[in-house]
Every structure is written in structure tokens, then in C-alpha cells.
Symmetry: C2
Subunit: 411 residues, 2 copies
């Protein structure tokens, strides 16, 4: 047997497989109701339209669509996306836009462009587990700042930056998901958005605005995006996975040209270009105005699911001191906090026994914490599954005595 | 204006845009005959079959194909690929196989899994420019070893390893393209393959076998693959780009399970999974035995093009001392060496003026060298273009006095 371990890079030595990905495997077990994954509802996928667009692309431009394409992405698709972003108040042209192979690649490119081992990145806590993984792979040291119902506590963030500055350390960037955050479902208030940008100016930082759910607002007022408020300090990450379908693995980055050009260069060594075939199909789809219609369909369906999940939580959850959940105005997730001292990683085993799954809170904490919380997805399950799943979960929580069982997921 | 430079990672600061990608832009200029890119011939793409397979996939399994998929890739596709590799003498199952988003991603994952800044990687010189970029992005120090007509000079490689060992440095891996190497077109002899593996055993190293062209042999005897000869020390990289089409951005990695598992973990932070839609289409295509037929079509067409390019080089090239080119038995490229002292980077400007393009040799040298050489692709151009392009190139070389013009590409 060969011992490969000494040959691995430091980041590979420390790599743990994503809990989310491992948990997704459990969702395949028959009988399990999973609120764990971040999967969109597949019954909403516009399969017929995609079939039609695929046919059109292959008939009209098969040889181009099946060839290599430019690293920047399909020019026509970039122009459609620029138009869509302009409607959202973001003053941008296609030159400020790079097509990526999923917004996870956007995170990976962000790591490649900015992070050297030991560099500091500021995030909220909790934050998206995929971002933690991507930045850790480049050796980032992530410092998390608590959230409240208005989003990241910016005063605390400024204090952290000052503490770092006193030690001669300057962070590389601030990472935020301002709209319907993953995992908390919280939307950042306008005041906090202004504060984040003020801090970025004051300390000469870049802000990474991860924005997969922004277009999925069910109600309430849309706050301006960070990129819309500041086109020089913000690099935005976007994806088709939640507003259309994940199976094409396509997303985009937008921001200052110099940062986009750096990301283009980095992308050349990562996969040369994103699939031109898939890009051409999406261009067809967007140019017909179909995405706007599809987003309305998704919003309607997810709003109903969120409403129902909130109702079921209210109906079934035990009345325990400190037990609470967020009320997201959009997106795919909500966040449950259990009484202090309860451990959702320990409880996970019982949940699986009862045939229900969530993602343990600790997965979303880059620097510890979140033991008494978990994330729930409401986009994937059917209404019947939501009721039955919440019921099971409530029983697990009600009957949980804590601490006695071994955890099968150690974060 | 913001100065982003201090925020960039060390590798991003040093990133230069790929010369190949920049050169590809020149191919879009009307009138230019380009031997620069590594593009397959688009008129051979099986557009009709892909259209039919797309339709079948969307009708039968649209909701699954458009959803997220497992990081490892579509199980059915992995099984088809394992069968194909078994026929090539590689004793492997689908558990030893990971679908990647192009073999360029395979190179990037290799970098992520093995390389810390300053780590040494051994390659032949010249070698694939995309590998140089991918490994450099992780801070690799690449040491190149000269090739001859049998491939990498293994005695020299062993001497390099000994020199490093004397300084207490152990390389992370050896990177090789044993079949129809990019850029040289050279195929490694059996004896050298055995030597590479002996060296890997002796010094406890892993070998990365990059194998995009292996199935495109026009003539002569197929040597066993490195992975077929040693299943414990070799990690293989493969792609559909050259044997079928690049527009799906799909390839695969194969090797020891422990290395594949590490790559799976790394891939989770890179793009979660490769496009399930594209994978399902390729599964359909492979399961019908269409790939084997397609490879035969490609071999026939590329053999004719290679023959014709060799004939045209013989007919038009000036008789200069030291001017020579390789005679590849397969693949997409051949390699031209000019008389000592000539500089193909300086000459490039004249070539573009004459409306013909190649890739300058220095692009393929990780540590300097190759100034009097360039790479030519024979898969993309038509017969008429090959004749006219070689004629133009011969005129450029004949009339080149050297040194007086500014280079537009500085390697």
C-alpha cells in the first residue's frame, strides 16, 4: 500500500468532504424526507422549452455550439444578462460580465484571484458552506461576524477589522449574501448595506456579493444590490441554478472590469471556458423572455411552500424557551434555533432514524458555533412531505434528551 | 481609481493570460489561416446524433438531467468509460473514475490536491501550456527535462531528482503526455514508459498521465498506457474534447481510489458537479456504441490531414540547416524546429502579416527555452488551408532576417 498523504497539498490534507454533499446521499434513502439539500423543485423545470431550445441551437449552430468557446462566455448570453441586471438597477455592460461553470466556480475563482494561505476573509456567521470550502481550499482564515434580523452586524465587523489592523493584518475581502441568505434566510437592511460599503471604502476592501436568490423575492421591498450601489468595490456572483435549473452548471460574475479580467485569466487554467452548448441554449431561452416568466412561476410555488412550512412549524414545533425560526421573504431556506445547550449534530442521528434530514448549523460556521441550529430547505419537498417532515422533526426535538448518542456527522 | 493589485493573491499577480487563448482571438480575423489553436474539426461533430440524444434524455429523464447530480458524475457514464478503458488494457472499475468539467479541470484539481507554493513538479520540455498554467496557479516550481524521439529523457529526469534530493527537495509528481504529446507530437517508447514508472517507484512519486489523444492513433503500435502498467502510482486525465466534441466541457480522471476520492472532495469546492444534462447525453451516445464509430471517422480524417501537412512541409519549407519537424503517429499537433538563433516569437508578427498563425515554442517551456520552435495543429484547417498556410509560413521563414521587429507576443 502506498501512503499518498505526504504528497498532498496542505489544503488537501485538511479537506473534509462537504457535509451537505454527504447528507444529500441520505436523501436518496427511501422514506427519508430531506430538508437538507438546496435543490430546486424539479417539477418546475421547463423541460419542454429546454428541449425546443436544444433542437434550435443544434440545427442552427451545432458546429459552433459543440466547439470550444471564448473564456469570457457567449457574447449574446452576456448581453442578455447585462440587460437583466440593468433592469435591477445595476449599471453594467457585457464587458463587466464573465460566464462561469456554476457560481461555485465563481467562489473558486474568487479564492484563486484573492487568497494566499493565511489571508483573512470576513463573512457573516453563519454563511454559505460552499464558500467556506472554496476559500479554505486556498488557505483562507475566515473570521465570522454575528448576524441579527438586519443581517451582518456591521459595527462588529468594523471592530474586527480594527483589531486585525492593530496586528498589521488587512483582510482580502468581505463575503456577503445580502438577499435571503444561505443558510439563515435573512435579508440585509438598506442601512447595513450602506455600512458594508462604507467599511469597504474606509479600509480599501473589495466586497464579494453572492446573489443566487435575489430574484426569488416573495414579498416586501427589494433593497438595492451592493453591486448596484457601488460598481467599483463589489464583485457579484450569480447562478441559473435557483432561478432556472442547476443541471447546466452555469452562472456568471459581474463587477469592475479589472477584477473580471483577472477572473478570466484564472478561468483559463481552470476549465478554459464554460460549455458553449449550454450557454447557447440559455441564450435562446433568455432572448425569448422565458426566464422572466419562469421566475414568476418559481416565486409563486416557493412562496406557497414557505408559507406552508412556516405554518407547519407553528403547528407542530414544541414550545421550548429559545426555540425559534426565521421568516425569509424569499429564497430557499430558513434557519431554526433550538434552546441553548441542544446539539443538532448529536440530534441528527435521531432525525435520520425518524426519516427526516436537515443540515446541522455548525456546517455554516467558519470558525465554530451554531451547535443549536440547523438549516431547512423549503423548495424541494412537496406540501405533504413538508407537513410530515416538520411533524417528524418536531417529535425528534420534543423527545430529545441530548448528548447521549454518538454523532454520525462530526463537523 | 482603485488599485486592486495589493488585494490579489501571489499567483494572480503573476498570472499572464494564456498565449494560446490570446492567439485564438487572431484566428477570428478574416483571412488568417491558423495552425495555432488545438481545435478539433467541427465538420466532424455528430450534430444529428447529439440532437437525437438530447431529445431522448429530456423526454425520458428531463427532471433528473436538469437537477444537481453527484460530484463523482453520472454512474452510467462512468461505467461506460470503465468498459472503454478496460478494452485499452486498463484494469479499472467506475469507482476509480471521476467525471470532470474538461480535462483542464482535471489539471486544476491535480494542482489543488498536490501542490503547495514552491512544490516541485517534473515535466518534459516542451509540455502542455494548460498544465503549466494550472500548476503555476498553485505556485508550482516546474522543472523540465528534454525530450528526444522516444519522449522524455528519463536518465536526465532521474539526475534532476537526485539533484533535488541532495538539496532535501522531493518533487510532488511527474507530469507526462505519453501519446502524441502536446505540443511535440512525440510518443513515448515502451522502454521510457517503464523507466518513468521505475523512477516513480524508486523515489515514491505519483505520475500524472495526461491522455487526451491516445485514442487517435493513425498508424503503428499502441504502447500500453502508464495507468495500464501501474494502477497504484498513476492518475490519468482524459477528455471528450478531442475524441468527440469540446462544447460539453466533459472529461474524466481515473486512478487509485484514494487519489480519486481526494479529487472528488476538491471538486466539491470547485463546481459541485459537472453538468448532469451533458453527462446524460454522452451516456446515451456511448451506450449505443457511437463513440467507437466516431473515433474511427476522426482518425481517418486527421490521418489524411497530417499526411497532407507533412507533404506540404516537405514541398514548401526552405532547406535550412537544422530546420525540421516531427512526424506524429496520431493526435493533433506537430512541432517545427528552426535553425538555432531564429526566434519564433519575433517572427510571429511577420507571420500574422502574412495571414498565418502558430503557437510560439516558448509557451510550452515551463522554465525557458524553445525560442526557435513552434507548434502546428493539423486537425482544424481544411486541406486547401493547410497548403496555403504552409506556403505562407515557408515564405515567412525564408525571408526572415531575424531580430529587427518587435514581438507582439512576449512569452
Amino acid at each position: 500500500m502506498i501512503n499518498y498523504e505526504p504528497l498532498f497539498s496542505n489544503s488537501a490534507k485538511g479537506m473534509k468532504r462537504s457535509e451537505i454533499r454527504e447528507l444529500l446521499k441520505l436523501t436518496a434513502r427511501p422514506g427519508i424526507i430531506s430538508f437538507a439539500g438546496g435543490l430546486p423543485a424539479p417539477d418546475l423545470f421547463p423541460v419542454e422549452e429546454i428541449k425546443e431550445m436544444s433542437r434550435i441551437v443544434l440545427e442552427r449552430e451545432g458546429r459552433t455550439a459543440l466547439q470550444y468557446g471564448p473564456t469570457e462566455g457567449d457574447t449574446r448570453l452576456r448581453e442578455e444578462l447585462a440587460k437583466m441586471m440593468q433592469k435591477d438597477g445595476i449599471n453594467i455592460t457585457s464587458n463587466h460580465l464573465l460566464i462561469v461553470t456554476s457560481s461555485q466556480q465563481g467562489l473558486d475563482l474568487t479564492g484563486k484571484v484573492f487568497i494566499d494561505p493565511g489571508d483573512v476573509v470576513l463573512t457573516s456567521r453563519p454563511t454559505y458552506v460552499g464558500a467556506i470550502q472554496a476559500f479554505h481550499a486556498y488557505g483562507a482564515r475566515m473570521i465570522g461576524v454575528e448576524q441579527d434580523e438586519e443581517g451582518t452586524q456591521t459595527a462588529q465587523m468594523e471592530a474586527e477589522i480594527e483589531k486585525l489592523a492593530a496586528k498589521g493584518v488587512k483582510p482580502k475581502f468581505i463575503y456577503e449574501i445580502p438577499d435571503f441568505q444561505n443558510p439563515s434566510g435573512i435579508t440585509m437592511s438598506l442601512k447595513r448595506r450602506q455600512e458594508i460599503l462604507r467599511i469597504a471604502e474606509k479600509y480599501d476592501l473589495v466586497v464579494i456579493e453572492d446573489s443566487p436568490y435575489r430574484q426569488l423575492r416573495f414579498e416586501g421591498k427589494t433593497e438595492p444590490s451592493l453591486l448596484g450601489m457601488n460598481s467599483e468595490r463589489v464583485l457579484g456572483l450569480y447562478t441559473f441554478s435557483k432561478i432556472l435549473l442547476p443541471g447546466f452548471r452555469l452562472g456568471w460574475m459581474a463587477g469592475p472590469n479589472e477584477l473580471i479580467q483577472k477572473a478570466v485569466t484564472a478561468k483559463q487554467s481552470v476549465d478554459l471556458c464554460s460549455p458553449p452548448f449550454n450557454q447557447a441554449i440559455l441564450f435562446e431561452y433568455l432572448s425569448r423572455g422565458l426566464l422572466e416568466k419562469q421566475i414568476k412561476v418559481i416565486i409563486k410555488a416557493y412562496r406557497e411552500k414557505r408559507d406552508f412550512m412556516l405554518a407547519m412549524l407553528g403547528k407542530y414545533m414544541p414550545k421550548l424557551p429559545g426555540l425559534k425560526w426565521t421568516q425569509p421573504q424569499g429564497g430557499l431556506f430558513l434557519w431554526v434555533t433550538l434552546p441553548e445547550g441542544m446539539d443538532t449534530a448529536e440530534m441528527f442521528h435521531s432525525a435520520i432514524e425518524k426519516q427526516v434530514a436537515y443540515v446541522v448549523g455548525t456546517a455554516f460556521y467558519p470558525d465554530g458555533g451554531g451547535r443549536n441550529s440547523f438549516r431547512m430547505n423549503f423548495s424541494y419537498s412537496s406540501m405533504a412531505e413538508i407537513e410530515e417532515g416538520v411533524k417528524r422533526l418536531s417529535e425528534v426535538i420534543s423527545s430529545w434528551k441530548g448528548g447521549r448518542e454518538a454523532s454520525i456527522i462530526t463537523p
